[in-house]
């Protein structure tokens, strides 16, 4: 497949610019960033483009390729048709500096505003004790390589400069979620902060951020939605309100996974395991399958036993439970109708085709 290929690359700076056509040699096995490097070495030595690791680990070479926010180093030329023109433009949400380089300082400003990890006061370095299942929830978000593709794709700010002041964007919602789920973070107001200061309420869960994430972090499902739900619980739930009058905040017995925190150096492992048919299962293989489309032979996730207290009972009373009315027998995180790919129905005729 070696040969000359048509590239259209945006050249210019903050005062304006346009797409320029290049015919450039493309060899088998190359990615878009390789082609940009070749252009720099030949026709356009001053073509501005950020990059570092060229292995999908640093998140520097973010650009929009044929209109889609992508990493240049992870976009293979073989994914385009042989005579398809490849159009490369800078990230749209941020001001252009030159060519493919944009001013991403917005993100660093929002990072600075997000309150940092608060170490537990009475735990010495070396005495931190955490269970693997507890750190894994935050670890998912710490995979973030800060490519800011989720930020550029988010429609709240993509074409709405005026929202930038009040909205931090998906990257910083998962930062707040990460700290919220950190087993030893001493602050207890991460969700409230996200709602009040980061503009979590602007997000209407279109999941574009999750779609573009090169690290496949489930930004919406595992980060934003749990944050939103809990914020709603705390704000509007009269039972929680009553509970918070009786127990001081933080001492309220919690049952949900995302808020389970004992406030000591040794939090228990995930006690109230969410048992559900959807995102809450710990079966990552089944989840990957679910994402890849309808699989008629999908196995039902293994049922998880609810956590019980010392007496072998569910740790629930009306006063301490974190929402009104009885919990859903299907799990709190399941909404109906279920997405078809999560169903386990085997169609008699399609069976034969596979």
């Amino acid at each position: 497949m070696s040969g000359k290929r048509q590239f259209r690359i945006w050249r210019g700076d903050e005062s304006g610019g346009d797409l320029q056509d290049y015919m450039v040699e493309v060899n088998e096995g190359e990615v878009v960033l390789d082609v940009i490097h070749r252009l720099q070495a030949t026709d356009a030595p001053d073509l501005a483009c950020r990059w570092n690791c060229k292995a999908g680990k640093c998140g520097s070479c973010s650009m929009e390729i044929n209109g889609k926010p992508r990493l240049g180093c992870m976009t293979r030329m073989s994914t385009f048709g042989d005579d398809e023109t490849v159009t490369v433009t800078p990230l749209r949400t941020f001001p252009v500096i030159r060519d493919l380089v944009t001013d991403v300082s917005f993100n660093y400003e929002k990072a600075r505003e997000t309150p940092a990890f608060a170490p537990p006061a009475d735990v010495a370095p070396g005495d931190y004790r955490m269970q693997q299942v507890d750190v894994e929830r935050s670890q998912e978000f710490r995979k973030c390589i800060e490519c800011f593709l989720c930020q550029t794709v988010c429609h709240v700010i993509r074409d709405h400069e005026e929202n930038k002041q009040a909205f931090s964007g998906p990257r910083y919602f998962i930062r707040a979620a990460e700290l919220d789920m950190h087993p030893l973070d001493a602050r207890t107001d991460r969700k409230e902060y996200a709602q009040a200061e980061q503009g979590l309420g602007f997000c209407n869960i279109t999941k574009c951020c999750t779609e573009v994430c090169p690290e496949h972090i489930k930004i919406t499902d595992n980060g934003i939605i749990p944050m939103k739900e809990r914020v709603v619980d705390r704000r509007y739930d009269p039972l929680v309100w009553l509970g918070s009058k009786i127990f001081r905040r933080g001492e309220t017995p919690q049952t949900s996974v995302t808020t389970a925190r004992q406030g000591s150096a040794t939090p228990g492992s995930a006690r109230g395991g969410v048992h559900s048919h959807a995102g809450g299962s710990h079966d990552s293989r089944a989840e990957t399958q679910a994402q890849s489309g309808v699989n008629w032979h999908r196995e039902v996730p293994h049922p998880t036993a609810p956590a019980v207290d010392d007496r072998g009972k569910l740790p629930l009373t009306e006063l301490t439970f974190d929402r009104a009315a009885a919990p859903s027998p299907f799990g709190d995180d399941v909404t109906f109708p279920l997405p078809p790919e999560h169903l386990n129905f085997a169609h008699p005729e399609q069976d034969n085709k596979h």
Partner: protein, 642 residues
């Protein structure tokens, strides 16, 4: 009035050049000591090459095996470096790395855990016990992010106290330093440019910490990013400091050479451990032809025996694909030079025909996914094309082990991380780099702060030096007769890759020096098209100067050292020579030329050398040194008897 009055000026107590693990840790320390600190980052904040580290950070915490302690870690490090390490650095590193790792947890790091909730530790080549604190295979990212977020938290403190995030610690992202400025023999500041705007910037500061990483960009096939142009090495040389051990570069024998999208990326050794074999273009499993006599007893002689080893290692000898890294690299080199290489100039690493697709995916999940995603190469269906790839430079700025202060005739200059030399000797153990960054980053930052405290008067930046720096920086833009910087970089990479690569010969090294001298002329006349705003061609033209001088150091030192040890393999001197173990090769700059001198290694303290067996020491030490050791043991024995 001169042009220099319009240059943006900043005053700091400590300027840290480099924003990888070592730089950020140094900056944190300097800021905690109350110093006004600047961090200069060539890329955006948080993109440093440290993110590439996968394995983990070595620290003898003893969480998985309680027998581990600093003495064992020290021994492993010295062994790995073939006893050429600066023993004091290895000692400090082994003693202090557990605290540095635990400290990261107080900054918010989340390492993988053991069952009892401690930091989990994994096994790694050369480490006697499971020792590497890790987060899956993205430990470097966790380390960078944690330090980045710690800096943000310090900035938040300053915001509360002084009303400005930048009051006491500020990050200058996408900024490159081209020159250190001196007042006599004291550091007075640093001069550079913003990559975004091309505007110049001048830092006046009495103390500078170099944390710029390595030199891999001088090689054709490398796992390093564009930033790795040896800036810190070159800045130190030009400021009057010295470099040691520059002949030692770590090459990994199996980096991908094809397709281009993954060129240089490492293929983990476990591919070979799990059954992968190396084949040449004739389809021959060639490693059987390259088993050296000293290893012949441990390695299989037939394919049948080798294949039995995977399931029955007790009754069969190891397959020759599992020889030490330098042997494998040498063999690959020979096959390619004999014309039996793959189309892209490597050899074939085949696991697809030897294990089922399911098994490969199960045992090598990250390898499978990495190549599938980045290159659409299905390692379960086709062989990989691999060859030696430049990975890490052991050599660097010669520093005082305790403070990180550079030797030579300059004061106020400190170095930490890959840019400093000595810690890893002739070969670095996997996992020791991340802990190195933390231990010596902290030390360099702290000592830079106390050096700045101890000064009675601030060194002054001389106007004419700034003028000269401006002129040098602008020169490539003002010339239009010279060559394209990209061509020059390719030529430099070709010289280094072909002649000063993994296997070295006297004739080739001498040839390399001639060619580097020619390149020096050409680089001096390089021209860059375009303007000053974010112009990568101009940036490269300025980096070339650094790459060149560092390459000269490597070539000269490699020619001088007539033995093979760790990351330096001479085909004409294949054995390790105890006499050479006593010598560090030191590079300094005299005017424009690199001067090489020999310097004796510091002598290990008795209680440290006493940690080793005599039989082991016998492999490394000269007869005189062994006699000293025996006397020492005898003395200790007498003392015990009394």
């Amino acid at each position: 009035m001169t042009t220099t009055t319009r240059i943006e000026r900043h005053h700091y107590d400590v300027v840290v050049i480099g924003a990888g693990g070592a730089g950020l840790r140094a900056a944190i320390e300097a800021r905690l000591a109350g110093k006004k600190t600047a961090i200069i980052s060539k890329s955006l904040f948080g993109k440093a090459h440290t993110v590439m580290a996968e394995g983990g950070a070595a620290a003898a915490m003893g969480n998985v095996n309680s027998r581990d302690n600093w003495q064992v870690h020290f021994r492993d490090t010295m062994r790995g470096g073939k006893f050429l390490n600066n023993f004091r650095m290895a000692e400090l590193h082994a003693k202090e790395s557990p605290q540095r790792i635990w400290e990261l947890e107080t900054y918010g790091a989340l390492f993988d855990r053991t069952k009892d909730g401690k930091i989990s530790q994994r096994n790694f080549g050369g480490h006697e016990y499971p020792r590497l604190a890790h987060v899956g295979d993205r430990t470097g990212l966790e380390l960078i992010r944690t330090l980045q977020q710690k800096i943000v938290s310090l900035q938040q403190e300053d915001q509360r106290e002084f009303g400005s995030y930048d009051a006491r610690i500020r990050v200058f992202s996408e900024t490159t330093i081209t020159e250190l400025l001196l007042d006599g023999d004291r550091v007075a500041g640093a001069f550079g440019y913003y990559r975004e705007s091309g505007e110049f910037i001048l830092f006046e500061a009495p103390a500078v910490v170099l944390a710029t990483g390595g030199v891999g960009r001088s090689y054709k096939v490398t796992s390093n990013s564009w930033e790795y142009t040896g800036d810190g090495h070159a800045l130190a040389l030009r400021a009057g400091a010295t470099l040691i051990n520059m002949e030692f570069l770590q090459f990994h024998p199996t980096g991908m050479v094809w397709p281009p999208s993954v060129k240089g990326i490492l293929v983990t050794e476990s591919v070979r451990g799990d059954g992968g074999v190396l084949k040449n273009s004739d389809g021959k499993r060639f490693m059987f032809d390259y088993v050296p006599d000293v290893f012949r007893k441990q390695y299989a002689e037939t394919e049948e025996e080798a294949d039995r080893w995977y399931t029955d290692p007790d009754n069969n000898r190891r397959p020759p694909e599992l020889l030490p890294r330098d042997e494998v690299a040498r063999a690959i080199n020979s096959e390619v030079k004999a014309g039996r290489g793959s189309p892209a100039g490597g050899v074939f690493l085949d696991i697809a025909s030897r294990r089922s697709a399911d098994e490969i995916r199960r045992r090598l999940p990250s390898m499978y996914h990495q190549f599938k995603e980045l290159a659409d190469v299905d390692i379960t269906a086709e062989p990989m094309e691999v060859g030696p790839t430049c990975h890490y430079v052991m050599g660097g700025v010669e520093v005082d082990p305790d403070s990180g202060a550079a030797f030579g005739h300059v004061r106020g200059l400190f170095a930490a991380g890959e840019v400093s030399g000595g810690m890893h000797g002739s070969n670095r153990l996997g996992g020791n780099s991340l802990s190195d960054l933390l231990v010596f980053g902290k030390r360099a930052g702290g000592h830079a702060a106390s050096y700045a405290d101890g000064l009675t008067a601030r060194p002054k930046v001389a106007v004419h030096e700034v003028e000269a720096a401006v002129e040098t920086a602008l020169a490539p833009l003002q010339r239009d007769t010279g060559e394209n910087p990209y061509t020059l970089q390719q030529d430099l990479q070709a010289v280094m890759g072909d002649l000063v690569g993994i296997i070295r010969r006297e004739g080739e090294l001498a040839d390399a020096l001639v060619r580097l001298a020619e390149l020096r002329e050409r680089v001096a006349k390089v021209s860059a098209a375009g303007g000053r705003r974010y112009n990568p061609g101009w940036h490269l033209a300025l980096d070339l100067r650094n790459m060149l001088v560092v390459s000269e150091c490597t070539a000269k030192a490699a020619l001088e050292r007539q033995e093979s040890r760790g990351g330096h393999t001479r085909e004409d001197y294949p054995a390790m020579e105890p006499k050479w173990r006593q010598v560090n090769l030191v590079c300094a700059l005299d005017g424009d030329t690199v001067q090489l001198t020999r310097k004796p290694l510091p002598k290990m303290r008795p209680e440290l050398i006493g940690l080793f067996d005599r039989a082991e020491l016998a492999k490394y030490l000269t007869d005189e040194e062994l006699a000293d050791f025996d006397a020492l043991v005898a003395d200790a024995g007498e003392a015990d008897n009394r």
